[in-house]
Symmetry: C2
Subunit: 321 residues, 2 copies
């Protein structure tokens, strides 16, 4: 069993790699090789099997061919240009999110073994003038270029699966919080930084009101769901390979209360509240009343409480250093 | 007012060109030039203003740049690789239906004048395991590569419109019947030929059962709707620029009765009934209980009866020769 993580240098890719290293198996088989590919050289991960790291720009078909070995069994396609970046630079988003996804799928077709491919889409595919709640059968109506490109990726994953060229499954990731590390270029960056920084003694700004609500998942649960995603049977997926990953809707106020319940009152005092109206066009285009019924029926799970998200961050990231 | 029809050599493009020639105006302005572009040189159309014909392969950005003049006001993007062809040849479909659409949108962006762009999608975007009826808010779940590529085109049209690069509007065309001329490579070809050929003294085969139902529109109403589509105001379109074009659901049996009501009993006897199970994977993936509420509210219309479709064919195509 050979596993490839494209985007293996990112937050989710690295945590997924460590989880696979700890498990040692996937789809009931021993993992005998893991490849981490990314646009910048991914950090190596210790495992009981060989782990390679490779440079890969998915926008370049030759780079994809070099990164995707013909004997790969499971591919995670996590690489993307995120929301604010794709909004600033339409061509960069199209190159990576649309053509890059297609390049990976075309490489799978070339290999000819119908590998399992787990694609990460985003709740940014939801938005605009569409009735809520969002079920698995609601029209996608993205109000960002990132969302539009992810929705196109979903269509490709389903079509290539229908044609038997891949065994694809795509999941619309909730906003991941609490993310460790540095902020990325996602408009949702503050949804982690207002916990991450205060929990480590620093200040952070919240650019929205306390009643702003959104759909969240912890990195730990996200990785657990991605492992399950690879293990789902093709016949359980039906004729649309893409769906929402379970998450939970919380307001900023609820999340801060959860931080206080876990870590005491001090961190919340380190949050500043300067509105950033330039983020509104992206943030107000999102729709957050999401029902992940298909994924829940397939065994994927949300966090039980936001206290859990805070605890997972302290255990998995702060304690780990 | 300069109008460009990409796909101007096809059935709908030619009828649209003749309609624009007869009207002489669009969006309240006199048309002073019409350009017909297609992959094979389009037939010229007589009009009270100059009509150019041009070769254009939308899969080639240079060809698109040469066909789309910087002073164009309204573009109709009708060109496509149709269902059975795109299913046979995935790359040809991606080249024309996905990259070709993107090439035209990128050319509009380069021009920088935010031209009106009318995009023809297809009811082939519907399908699979999705509850019916299909409203304007139901998830697209195409079960053909053609449908997947058209759904991606819709996402691009909405995103480029949101960014102010085009003033786009897209309509999912019902199956057009009765189509004049030669069959094309669409799996739905028989839905015209079983009327067109018998009404002109020839035999034609129906490969499905009489109770097979589908969603139809006459060429005449389709062209009327495409003219209205260009004239809609951007502010009436909202945050999803694409929707179903009104049509009507008929069974094969109802349509044959309509032919008999208009043209007597003789034509129906010229239909043969040899099933073609090789078409089933495409035909059975379609879902036909479609509600075109948004387009109807905007003033677009279906045919009143299938007798009308038969009469329009006799008036517009057979009598015209």
């Amino acid at each position: 069993m050979k596993v490839l993580i494209i985007g293996g240098g990112g937050l989710v890719g690295q945590k997924l790699a460590r989880s696979l290293a700890a498990r040692g198996t996937l789809r009931g088989q021993a993992i005998d090789r893991l490849v981490l590919a990314d646009i910048v050289d991914p950090a190596p991960v210790a495992a009981g099997f060989p782990v390679d790291t490779r440079l890969c720009d998915i926008a370049d078909p030759a780079s994809v061919a070099a990164a995707v070995d013909a004997d790969v069994d499971v591919i995670y396609l996590l690489a993307a240009i995120v929301s604010a970046h794709a909004e600033e630079d339409l061509d960069a988003g199209l190159r990576t999110n649309l053509f890059g996804t297609l390049n990976v799928l075309q490489r799978c077709r070339e290999i000819g073994t119908c590998p399992v491919l787990v694609f990460t889409s985003s709740i940014a595919v939801n938005g605009g003038d569409v009735p809520q709640p969002y079920s698995d059968y609601t029209a996608l109506n993205p109000q960002t270029s990132y969302g539009a490109q992810k929705a196109m990726g979903e269509l490709l994953v389903t079509d290539f699966s229908r044609r038997g060229l891949i065994d694809g499954r795509g999941f619309r990731l909730p906003t991941i919080s609490v993310r460790p590390g540095k902020p990325n270029r996602a408009a949702s960056g503050f949804m982690s930084s207002i916990f991450r920084e205060p929990l480590q003694g620093e200040t952070a700004n919240c650019p929205v009101d306390p009643d702003f609500n959104h759909y969240y998942l912890s990195p730990r649960k996200c990785v657990e769901n991605l492992v399950k995603a690879a293990e789902l049977k093709a016949e359980d997926l039906g004729r649309n390979r893409c769906m929402v990953m379970p998450g939970r809707v919380w307001t900023i106020a609820q999340m801060i209360e959860a931080m206080t319940a876990v870590a005491g009152p001090e961190p919340a005092t380190r949050i500043t509240w300067n509105r950033q109206p330039e983020l509104d066009p992206i943030l107000k285009g999102w729709r957050m009343d999401v029902r992940a019924e298909r994924a829940e029926a397939l065994g994927l799970e949300a966090d039980a409480s936001f206290e859990d998200n805070i605890r997972y961050f302290l255990e998995d990231d702060v304690a780990r250093g």
